[in-house]
Every structure is written in C-alpha cells, then in structure tokens.
Symmetry: C2
Subunit: 188 residues, 2 copies
C-alpha cells in the first residue's frame, strides 16, 4: 500500500541521511538532495512539509536502524563481554568512513546543539539506545564500578577516538584506541 509514495519518501530520507552525514544538515540544500535523488526541487513539499521534517525522518530512521543493530548483537552473543565486542568490531569495520566523515551521531548532535538550531528531539536521545544497551551489558558482567558510568566511559572513549581520528584523517588512531579499550575491558 502506498508503494510509490512511501518509496519516494524513503529515497529522499536515504539521500538526505547520507548528505546530512557528509556535508552537515545546514550545509545540505534541497538542490543537493534533488541532484542525488533525481527529483525536482519543488516536489519535496509534496512528501514533507519542511526541511526540518526531513531531518526528523532521518533521525527516526537512524534510531530504528540502531535498534535493529542492537537486537542483532543481543541475538548473536550471549556473553555480555562478547556483545560489547560486537560494538567495537562495528566501529573497527567502519573506521575508514568514520575517519573521513566523523561519527554520524556525534557530528549531527554537535551541529544541532549549536544555538539557534531546532533539533527534532533532545540530541542526547540519539545516544540513549547505545547507552542503555551498554549499561545492561555491564550490569550482566557484574563488574566493580557502577554500570552506567562504565557505559558512559565506553561512549566517551569511542566518541573521542572517532573524533580525533576524523580530525587527523587517520583511521589508525581509532583502531589503536579500540585496541586499548578492548584491553581495558579485559582488565575488568
């Protein structure tokens, strides 16, 4: 049902997602999205009421994609330590792209966090699925420190490593920091 319409909506969200990631939200114009999606500029207002609405759809799509990823990790391993390793492996696999364009969540959050921008939802909610999932893994591990602080610590180091790797344009920075993070986890 609604095949064509939903189809084009999805195409728009898909292209916008990629462009927002690589160029930033504000820097990406309807002309850019039109070029990528081969749709006339004026037509976007048939599918979405505003540019902000496209952003909201992109954010929603990312959130569901994250949920699917977390569910997959939950299924593929029963040991919490191994599950966290899935997270690190994902970052390692994406090291090249992360080094080129930064973290898709972090860069968007930073742009929308600037004064004058109107985020579609509190920006930290982009990280809440990861934070909640990591917290549950640390709880299951029964490690010494508070689980929620351990979870935030992992996010801090992953985010920092991704950003410095991006700034210096060197994937090896992220890869090396992921090794250190893995060692730290083993020492718990």
């Amino acid at each position: 049902m609604n095949g064509k319409l939903e189809d084009k909506r999805a195409r728009i969200v898909d292209s916008a997602d990629r462009l927002f990631y690589q160029q930033g939200y504000r820097q990406t114009s309807f002309t850019d999205i039109a070029r990528e999606t081969r749709l006339p500029r004026g037509n976007f207002y048939y599918y979405f009421p505003s540019k902000d609405a496209i952003l909201a759809a992109v954010v929603a799509a990312r959130l569901t994609a994250i949920q699917h990823m977390l569910n997959e990790w939950e299924r593929s391993a029963s040991d919490p330590r191994q599950r966290i390793d899935r997270f690190l492996q994902m970052l390692r696999t994406a090291a090249g792209e992360l080094s080129r364009f930064g973290c898709p969540l972090g860069t968007l959050a930073q742009e929308l966090g600037k004064a004058g921008a109107a985020p579609p939802l509190p920006i930290y909610q982009l990280f809440e699925p990861f934070r909640g999932w990591l917290t549950r893994q640390f709880e299951a591990m029964g490690s010494a420190g508070a689980a929620d602080e351990q979870a935030m610590h992992v996010l801090v180091r992953a985010q920092g490593a991704t950003q410095m790797s991006h700034i210096y344009g060197r994937p090896s920075i992220l890869e090396h920091e992921l090794d250190r993070l893995s060692e730290w986890l083993d020492g718990l």
Copy 2:
C-alpha cells in the same frame, strides 16, 4: 601605531570568536557580528576582505592564545605530571562552558571538516600545539608506552568526555571522566 584600526579589527575578531564558538561559523552572519560589536555590517570589508578572512584571524588568535597557555603551564610547574594536571584543571574549570557549547577546537574542526567547507588551514593543526606539548611531557615522564600515543590517548579521552558532556548537557560527565583520567595517569 594603527591604534584605532587594529583596535576595531581586534574587537571584530573577539566577537566573531565568541559567536563562532556558540553558534558555529556558518550559522553566524555579519548581522550577528554587527550587533555584538556595534559596527555597521558594510564596514567589515574595510577591515577584512571576506568572512573567511575573519575566520582565519580567529583561528590564528586561538593558536597564539593556546601557545601562551602552554608556556604558562611550562613555567608554573617543573614536574611533567603536574604540568599535565594543569591541562586537566583547565578543563575542569571550564566544565560549565564546555558542557554548554562543546570544545571550541573540536566543534570548529568538525564543522570545517565537513565537505564543501574551506578551512583556513588543515584542521588538525588546531590540536598540534596540545599534542606536541603533551608528547614532550610524556617523554619527560619516561613512562612505558610511546609518548606520542599517550598524548593522543589523553586528547581522545578529553575530547570524548567534553563532547558527551556537551551532548547530555551535564558537566558532571566531564568532571567524572577527568577524575578517571587523573587516576590513569597516576597508574603510569
């Protein structure tokens, strides 16, 4: 010499610096700078040839400010471990502002790193003074690992802690992570 002219140039750079930090470079218009500095919009082109030139001046000003800060830390302590502590103390003192607006270097680097932006200089050079200085401190400490990797590790954790603290709007995240970083340094 050139009192008035250099004075206004400095006022422009000063206001632009603050606005670029709080709102982002692209989001800040000449109208914004004009309001803050009480100068007519059109006059900026007497003092600077373009908006990019203002950005370049802001970046240059930040770099010299960083150098002065590093020199001060170098003077105020002879023990390298204590010098690194000066760095951490600076972050702790600024935790409120960092939590509100993010890292002035990191957010600018991220914005200028997006495709289509023309940075006044390779963005990683904003971090090079800190990285070089930290590397020299770790060399003086003669710790186990490679000094340059230790330096990058500190930058990674400081940057990540600042960004997550900013995203969640909670200074305590940065403060807590600075405690952990301090403990890690003590364990070297």
